[in-house]
């Protein structure tokens, strides 16, 4: 009788993320993954129907993990400044703690699996964030700009700083480390630009 082995499943998940980030979609195969995990190909196929199934499940799981962290101590009824600040803190914490998961999620999101995963894992999340910006506009705490303008202004600077941090350097190869102070300084400018 075969039984599920949670430890083995976690190992598969970790190795799959690692392989996708390192070798991309083309370099990823069930065979190589089984080898990297030291398990048989058959075991891998018992857990996952096929390569697509594996990638979709891993993507959805990272999406859920990201959503849970991002919504931690967050309420769409919060004031715009407070709520956006919490978003920055949560997103930064997730990106710094799970850089591989973030990179892997990006790879999957941009692939043909992307739409399904975003739909599936971020359903509730989208609604909460939509309510938050809607409230902020109604309360005149946020300029009524198109969503793309809002997103790129509200989160673009944060993700740029996090990318510098991940690479360990910024413009012209200057060494860079993300810090609360830098986040705060950037955040205040962002807030100013989005407030009526």
């Amino acid at each position: 009788m075969r039984t599920r082995n949670a430890e083995k499943e976690e190992l598969v998940r970790q190795e799959a993320i690692e392989m996708l980030v390192r070798d991309g979609f083309q370099g990823f195969s069930m065979n190589r993954l089984a080898q990297a995990c030291g398990i048989s190909v058959a075991t891998l196929y018992i857990y996952y129907r096929d390569k697509d199934d594996l990638i979709q499940k891993i993507g959805a799981e990272i999406g859920k993990q990201f959503m849970a962290k991002t919504l931690q101590d967050f309420d769409p009824e919060m004031s715009f400044a407070e709520g956006l600040k919490r978003q920055w803190e949560n997103r930064a914490a997730f990106a710094i703690k799970f850089p591989k998961e973030v990179a892997c999620y990006e790879i999957i999101r941009r692939s043909r699996h992307g739409d399904d995963i975003v739909e599936e894992s971020l359903k509730g999340f989208k609604k909460t964030m939509g309510d938050f910006t809607h409230n902020a506009i109604t309360n005149k705490e946020l300029l009524p700009v198109p969503v793309e303008v809002f997103w790129s202004m509200a989160y673009g600077p944060l993700y740029t700083l996090l990318r510098f941090h991940e690479e360990g350097k910024s413009i012209g190869g200057r060494p860079f480390k993300f810090s609360k102070k830098i986040m705060e300084e950037t955040f205040q400018l962002v807030l100013k630009s989005l407030t009526p």
Partner: protein, 75 residues
């Protein structure tokens, strides 16, 4: 639906084309003993995964053999 893992069988096959897959589909879909099946066409081994609570691997191999495909159980 949770599947008893002991009812999942994994095979390496020589299925090559979508047409091959169609031929296998006709046979497997017709069998009520096959609860679920799929082939990973992305994989070099064209792995066939079958869920059945009553078939034995040898029986699956002979069905595939009957329609002209090689099939080896992976363990």
């Amino acid at each position: 639906m949770t599947i008893d893992l002991s009812n999942i069988f994994i095979f390496k096959t020589n299925i090559q084309t979508e047409f091959d897959k169609l031929r296998i589909k006709n046979v497997l879909d017709a069998s009520q003993k096959v609860l679920k099946w799929n082939i990973d066409m992305d994989d070099a081994d064209r792995v066939l995964r079958i869920v059945s609570d009553s078939l034995r691997p040898e029986q699956i191999i002979s069905v595939l053999d009957y329609v002209g495909f090689e099939c080896t159980e992976l363990e």
